[in-house]
């Protein structure tokens, strides 16, 4: 399967040129093809070790590595080449590679980086994000910073790993967290994170279907991943955010002011719209218009709007906005949030028109 379309430069967590070694009896022989070793988080959120030829996209080796499970080490016995061994402690499996970068002075550094990634995935992820470039600053908030930001310095009882997990799930459609997906950097312009993450991750054929789906008038699949139980944590975050005082509140727009009961009633009578919202109802709910109507008028939904408004107003939700495919500035308040949703719709409209023109 072609994982990475060559047209898109994808930043990997670790990447360096190396060839494989073929075991021939007791001897190791170099596979002369030019290759590259790289590591990334796969769609399964696990750390993967890949080897492929430098040209082409066919992954020849794809190994899942759990934290501290494997180690890469120089093979000192081999004096003719720079040979390294990847040793799986769990299975005793060994793979041999020879370094192919001209400059050998960086070998140890590269391997150290790889080992560090295996041993301490989270901190490498953060570092990667810090180095990801100035224009990606918003997205490159480290998980720890984000966690800290969201919790207002309080311990939320979720560790960084769980939080990353939740962000990844929140990203939807098996996309990864922004640091490895080409937002702001390599991706096609004007594409949302949700849309760009899967298309950069999957084969081109698949990404076409993705594209098609995303141009449908009603996109019911987007953001649906957010409703998984793992998002309990998000609820906790929201509940930690102090609801601002009455005086501030009357001056700022609330989501409840926009989504008035009258406004909602008229649009819910549209069956297409209603059906598109069914997946976001609680799992136990019936997918009927009456149920949707009842839930949207429930005090619990109203309270949720109120809390989300307060959270938006506090400016603490910026990083999460990227998970909805919105600009992080959407987290700067209710009005910014609404404006970003408007903008997103406009952008899609343009895209739809473009794709229609092409047809």
């Amino acid at each position: 399967m072609s994982l990475f379309p060559i047209s898109q430069r994808v930043r990997h967590l670790v990447e360096f040129n190396a060839g494989k070694c073929i075991r021939d009896g007791d001897q190791l022989k170099p596979d002369l093809r030019k290759g590259v070793i790289f590591m990334d988080q796969g769609d399964d959120q696990l750390l993967h070790f890949y080897w492929k030829e430098r040209v082409g996209n066919t992954i020849e080796e794809d190994l899942i590595i759990f934290p501290e499970e494997a180690e890469m080490k120089r093979v000192p016995e081999c004096t003719t080449g720079r040979v390294y061994r990847l040793h799986f402690k769990s299975s005793n499996q060994r793979l041999f590679f020879w370094m192919q970068d001209k400059d050998d002075s960086k070998d140890e550094e590269r391997v150290a980086k790889l080992n560090k990634l295996i041993n301490d995935t989270q901190s490498v992820l953060e570092e990667q994000r810090r180095n990801a470039g100035a224009d990606m600053e918003e997205e490159s908030e480290s998980a720890a910073d984000m966690l800290n930001l969201l919790s207002g310095g309080q311990d939320l009882g979720i560790n960084q790993e769980q939080f990353l997990q939740f962000l990844q799930t929140a990203g939807g459609l098996g996309g990864t967290i922004p640091n490895t997906s080409p937002i702001g950097g390599d991706g096609p312009p004007n594409q949302s994170v949700i849309a760009s993450a899967p298309s950069s991750r999957r084969g081109s054929g698949q990404s076409d279907t993705e594209e098609q789906q995303s141009t449908e008038a009603v996109r019911e699949n987007e953001g649906s991943q957010l409703s998984t139980n793992q998002l309990h944590d998000l609820r906790n975050i929201l509940s930690e955010i102090r609801v601002p005082q009455g005086t501030e509140r009357t001056n700022s727009l609330e989501l409840g002011n926009v989504l008035t009961t009258e406004a909602i009633r008229s649009i819910l009578s549209d069956q297409d719209i209603a059906s598109a919202l069914f997946p976001h109802l609680p799992e136990t709910s019936d997918n009927t218009n009456e149920e949707l109507h009842e839930i949207i008028h429930s005090p619990q939904f109203r309270q949720s709007l109120h809390r989300l408004s307060a959270a938006l107003q506090s400016g603490q939700l910026g990083p999460l906005m990227t998970q909805l495919g919105l600009d992080p500035s959407a987290g700067n308040g209710v009005e910014a949030f609404l404006a970003a949703i408007e903008e997103q719709a406009r952008r899609r409209d343009d895209q739809d028109r473009d794709s229609m023109d092409q047809d």
Binding site: L231, H232, R249, T250, L255, L259, I267, L338, E342, R348
Partner: protein, 326 residues
């Protein structure tokens, strides 16, 4: 209340409390809001294991003096100091559960009770705040508080002591007031199973009288046996009595039959209420962000969002002008 930790504030609602209790592994318990303190309304709820008086206070001026513990009741009364304010509802509930030997605590809380049995009150409080089980059950109900608007009172800002929960529970023939902010359990005198609620009422009414002068909101919750179980038992009892009656005793028969139909009605009511609680809790625990986002997104795609936003802004402006004029 140094460290709020990661305890969410939960809604003070009988449905929330009831599910919280069963979430901790305790079976056959229900929490009911008590709207009237007269004996007949309380009688209907019996057996009652304890009462929780909760109120919202406004700063220190309305705080009651906390009388010191008068005896070494810690030996036989489970009393925990309040460490985390957000946990106070859960703590008040635990104070009742832990002090009644008739309640089936389940494995987790039984272990917790025996583990903390010899702890002094402050350590017990710490143990509650550090219990993963209790915290995770508690936190599964996030804040969507009916008092939320009141919480925005200027006097309330930054003040963590918004809610105060005091439990009243009969232990070994004496009525105790358990207030996590006082130094220990307060013995309010002898009582028995029959008259303890009456005695507790006097104390609670006295408190209410004081607080009503300073406009404090309060409510009362009763921790009772599962109402459905209770009603079922009563129904069975009357059915049994009815069957044992001879044909001759028509008057008695009619009496029993009318009792049964009343109980059946209450039983159905109770079932309906449980279903409502369950649904409310599901909605409380649901993450509405995807629904909200998609609703807004679809509105935007249909070019309906901007007009709504403009209307909302205009309305805000109008409200503001109106309030400025005042």
């Amino acid at each position: 209340m140094s460290d709020a930790g990661n305890w969410c504030l939960i809604e003070s609602d009988p449905g929330v409390f009831t599910e919280l209790i069963s979430g901790m592994g305790v079976s056959g318990i229900q929490v009911e809001e008590v709207f009237s303190l007269d004996e007949t309304s309380l009688d209907k709820l019996k057996p009652i294991y304890g009462l929780i008086f909760l109120f919202k206070w406004q700063g220190a001026q309305s705080s009651m003096p906390h009388p010191d513990s008068q005896d070494d009741a810690n030996d036989h009364v489970f009393f925990a100091k309040q460490i985390i304010n957000n946990a106070c509802a859960t703590q008040a509930i635990l104070s009742i559960l832990m002090n009644n030997s008739d309640i089936e605590l389940g494995d987790d809380l039984s272990n917790f009770k025996s583990f903390t049995a010899d702890f002094p009150p402050d350590l017990k409080g710490l143990a509650i705040s550090n219990s993963d089980l209790i915290r995770s059950v508690h936190n599964s109900f996030s804040r969507s508080d009916p008092f939320i608007n009141e919480m925005q009172d200027s006097s309330a800002q930054g003040d963590e002591d918004l809610f105060h929960f005091i439990s009243y529970v009969p232990v070994h023939g004496a009525l105790y007031e358990l207030d996590g902010l006082s130094s220990g359990p307060v013995n309010l005198g002898p009582c028995n199973e029959e008259n303890w609620t009456e005695k507790a009422n006097q104390v609670i009414m006295e408190r209410m009288r004081k607080y009503s002068e300073s406009e404090i909101h309060f409510s009362l919750m009763a921790v009772t046996k599962d109402r459905i179980e209770t009603l079922q038992e009563q129904l069975d009892e009357f059915s049994g009595l009815l069957m044992s009656l001879g044909d001759a005793d028509q008057e008695q028969r009619r009496e029993f039959e009318s009792q049964i139909s009343i109980l059946q009605y209450e039983y159905e009511q109770e079932k309906t209420k449980r279903a409502r609680w369950k649904r409310e809790n599901q909605l409380r625990q649901h993450n509405f962000i995807p629904l909200t986002y998609n609703l807004l997104r679809i509105l935007a795609e249909r070019k309906k969002l901007q007009p709504l936003v403009n209307a909302a802004k205009a309305k805000k402006r109008l409200e503001r002008e109106r309030s400025d004029k005042k």
